[in-house]
């Protein structure tokens, strides 16, 4: 790495930052406030009861968590594979994973508090008399009880908080001293991060989503949630990068069409992976056709849920599968941005589809619109947080030893 070139890049980065800070200074606040308004509007639109709001709240919460986890996965995956191409987009992902855990922790509180209030709790097993009425599930009290649930949640949140902060702070620290040792340290911890990530995603998937239907079980379920997380995280990363570049926060010389192309390919790959996992789960349960498993799919094939299920097959798999295949689609910021928005939307719908039918609630199109608006609000808040981070820190890891490789990255 030539020193002259480094200063060259630095000046490019600095100049792009300076020229844009005035225009983009209010963008974080706009995003955050807009997000909050959208969520409130969404709740108003979906109307209904407090219980209905709580269910929507859980969907929005898991949506937020999943995008954060997808970004966290992206960050430690780059270190695990010693990737060079992704350095310039890594800071945005680091912010998505490292600046949001506090919000994620605080946002769990309503769910945690209502656990103790009979009639308001989201999780049927938290009701005092649940296991009296379901003696066949009584052995699960060892696992599905409020203190242990909260303990596991606290463990997950602590791990995410620590991992997110770890990668963000070390990377930012390197901005000032340029010590390759930071990179070496982040790489060294990436296998441990992968293990902790696997454990926490599994716990969160089983606890927060699967236990909504305490009798149901599926061993692939955490993998399903994971695949959704990565789709959401990558789509979110692409979208935030596009927004940040439009606001002038990140120079077009450092994050180029080549990076979008590769991010698009990764997103495309994980869309297929999601389809593969979703199909595996559905096919095996459909083929086995035993009630304790198929009880999951039955309510999702009735009424409006049938159309939402079909919508997921087409919207979350088939349409992006065909649509994102051409190279040109992934290299055009508008088409790629379209598919990022599209997949974020369907990722939200996927979580809605997982969570909402557990109450056999009738869902009107209006409440669905309200829900989507709320999901957009959640993403707006996250965008606000990340944009604020991009203005506070250098928008790319300016002294990463592999920065040069990333800037000159070209898709073969």
């Amino acid at each position: 790495m030539q020193a002259t070139e480094l200063t060259d890049i630095n000046s490019a980065v600095q100049s792009s930052m300076n020229s844009s800070t005035t225009g983009a200074s209010r963008a974080p606040q706009v995003c955050t406030i807009g997000g909050v308004i959208a969520i409130i509007l969404g709740f108003v639109l979906s109307g209904g009861s407090f219980a209905g709001w709580m269910q929507d709240y859980l969907v929005h919460y898991t949506f937020l968590v999943s995008i954060m986890l997808g970004a966290l996965f992206f960050v430690f995956l780059q270190h695990l594979t010693r990737a060079g191409w992704s350095v310039t987009v890594r800071r945005t992902a680091e912010l998505m994973a490292g600046a949001t855990p506090t919000l994620v922790a605080v946002a769990l509180l309503p769910i945690a508090i209502t656990l103790f209030i009979n009639g308001l709790n989201l999780y049927p097993w938290a009701a005092g008399d649940f296991f009296l009425h379901h003696p066949e599930l009584r052995h699960k009290t060892v696992y599905l009880n409020i203190p242990f649930f909260l303990l596991r949640a606290a463990f997950c949140l602590a791990v995410w908080w620590w991992l997110g902060r770890f990668y963000l702070t070390r990377s930012v620290a390197q901005d000032t001293d340029g010590d390759p040792g930071w990179t070496r340290m982040m790489e060294k911890w990436s296998p441990a991060a992968a293990l902790l990530f696997t454990a926490t995603v599994t716990l969160a998937a089983l606890d927060w989503v699967m236990s909504l239907s305490p009798a149901w079980y599926s061993t692939i379920f955490p993998v399903y949630i994971f695949s959704g997380c990565v789709v959401g995280g990558l789509a979110g990363l692409i979208l935030i990068l596009l927004i940040a570049q439009r606001l002038g926060l990140i120079s077009r010389r450092v994050v180029t069409v080549e990076h979008y192309h590769d991010l698009g390919k990764l997103l495309f790959g994980f869309v297929i992976f999601w389809g593969y996992i979703a199909f595996s789960q559905y096919m095996l349960i459909w083929y086995g056709n035993i009630p304790e498993e198929s009880q999951f799919y039955l309510p999702r094939q009735q009424g409006i849920w049938l159309f939402i299920s079909l919508g997921l097959i087409f919207g979350h798999l088939l349409i992006p599968l065909v649509g994102m295949m051409p190279r040109a689609i992934k290299r055009n910021s508008w088409t790629l941005g379209f598919f990022a928005v599209w997949l974020l939307g369907f990722h939200w719908l996927d979580l809605y589809w997982l969570i909402k039918p557990n109450w056999h609630a009738a869902v009107s199109p209006l409440s669905l619109v309200g829900g989507i608006l709320g999901g957009a609000g959640v993403f707006g808040i996250m965008t606000g947080i990340v944009l604020r981070g991009l203005t506070r820190y250098a928008p790319i890891p300016v002294r990463d030893p592999r920065l040069d490789e990333a800037i000159h990255h070209e898709v073969a």
Partner: protein, 446 residues
């Protein structure tokens, strides 16, 4: 650089044996630079030869993007659609089979094969497309005679320009290539011999082709038989297929026992398994009492028995006798196939509705089913006592009677209010005629 456009006569007449020129470059980078300039100079018949793909060379040479992606996409779509149609048709239409309570056409279960065939078709097209669009296999190139060409698969980076290019001139092009940075430039004489396949390979292929014809020829000869010249010899029995098992046949001789009977008699004191067992009516098992055939059914006759008889008939008898029991063109599949193949030992089934069988008493028909028909020491119809229990054999007889009556109805059958006979008679089954006719009408449609 491209001034020598009018060179078609002069250089070629001087040195007509040249087919092209080859320039060798030191590195991929030099080649890339040169290729860009050659493309810019407007050469048309030229190429680069490299030991490995050089990134960006195709763009530098202005090679038109291949149509391979479209071919592969088309093949993939064909594979997907083909797999879907195949599975829908095979399991949903042609051969519907109930498997673990799944619908005949079950999309989730069809996805794996749809996927596999998509990949298979697309992959084959990608491979064959690349090979065939490249014009491979190919023996000679314009540059083949250049000395450096032998190293092109190791470490040589070559540019070859063909003599047929309008801008080609032996000296001037060579000079120009040297100026582009070529390490060495050679003119390629026309290759000795033609670009035809060498005679050795041709002869080898010919011998292989002739040899490959032999097995199908022998098979074709062995299968030369028609209805007129039937096959005399039985098939070769390579695979024993559990046909010959070390076991005792019924009534066989065994040296193990003093009485030399393989079948052992009942142990004294054996009692029937069913405590309510009653001996069957006379003739129930044989179809005759003494030497007289039964003329009436020994079992109660009703619609259930008729339905059972039809079902059993369709299973056991229709394969040869046909759905209607008529001989000739209405034979069952087995008989038609045997006749079509000219099987020498095949005896066509008798018409069940013809005069002869119509006049047989029911006991005789029952006995035929039980014992089969022996002609010239061979079974022309095998005995069915093993496969079909006696009740079902009687039911079949009943159904045969119905088939016969449908073929040769009684006058009263044509009247609107046909009297329903109250008892079983020797010549006709006393059942609802509408039912019989309905069945027959249905059967005739087969």
């Amino acid at each position: 650089m491209s001034k020598n456009s009018d060179n078609s006569t002069e250089p070629n007449s001087l040195q007509p044996q040249y087919v092209g020129i080859v320039a060798r470059f030191a590195s991929p980078g030099d080649l890339l630079t040169a290729a860009r300039q050659i493309a810019a100079a407007g050469y048309r018949y030229w190429d680069c030869h490299t030991p490995f793909p050089i990134h960006g060379l195709d763009r530098a040479m202005k090679i038109r993007p291949t149509i391979l992606p479209w071919l592969v996409a088309g093949a993939g779509a064909t594979g997907a659609l083909g797999a879907l149609v195949l599975q829908w048709w095979a399991n949903g239409v042609a051969y519907p089979l109930i498997i673990s309570g799944k619908p005949f056409f079950s999309l989730p279960a069809n996805v794996p094969i749809i996927f596999e065939l998509t990949v298979l078709f697309a992959a084959l097209t990608a491979f064959l497309g690349a090979i065939l669009l490249n014009g491979l296999p190919r023996l000679l190139y314009p540059a083949s005679t250049a000395a450096s060409f032998a190293r092109v698969t190791t470490d040589a980076f070559l540019v070859s320009i063909e003599a047929k290019d309008p801008q080609f001139h032996p000296e001037r092009t060579a000079e120009w290539l040297r100026n582009l940075g070529a390490e060495s430039v050679e003119l390629c004489p026309a290759p000795e011999g033609d670009d035809a396949i060498p005679a050795v390979i041709k002869r080898g292929l010919l011998v292989l082709a002739v040899l490959a014809l032999l097995p199908p020829l022998f098979i074709a000869l062995a299968r030369q038989h028609t209805a007129e010249t039937p096959q005399e010899k039985p098939r070769i029995h390579i695979i024993k297929d559990m046909d010959f098992q070390p076991k005792y046949q019924t009534q066989a001789v065994s040296s193990l026992f003093a009485d030399r009977r393989a079948m052992r008699p009942r142990v004294p004191g054996t009692v029937p398994f069913d405590p309510h067992w009653q001996p069957p009516p006379d003739g129930f098992l044989t179809g005759k009492v003494g030497n007289e055939y039964l003329t009436e059914f020994p079992i109660p006759v009703n619609e259930d028995v008729m339905r059972r008889g039809r079902e059993r008939y369709d299973i056991y008898c229709a394969t040869c006798h046909g759905w209607t029991g008529e001989a000739g063109q209405y034979d069952g599949m087995t008989s038609r196939r045997a006749r079509a193949r000219g099987e020498a030992t095949w005896v066509p089934p008798a018409s069940l509705t013809g005069q002869a069988v119509r006049e047989q008493p029911v006991g005789k028909i029952f006995e035929t089913i039980t014992q089969g028909v022996v002609r010239e020491g061979l079974y022309s119809m095998p005995p069915y006592a093993v496969q079909i229990p006696p009740e079902d054999r009687w039911a079949i007889v009943l159904y045969v009677r119905a088939l016969q009556r449908a073929r040769a109805p009684y006058p009263e059958d044509f009247q609107d209010s046909a009297p329903s006979a109250g008892t079983a008679t020797a010549s006709a089954a006393p059942v609802n005629e509408g039912h019989i006719k309905g069945n027959l009408a249905g059967d005739m449609r087969h």
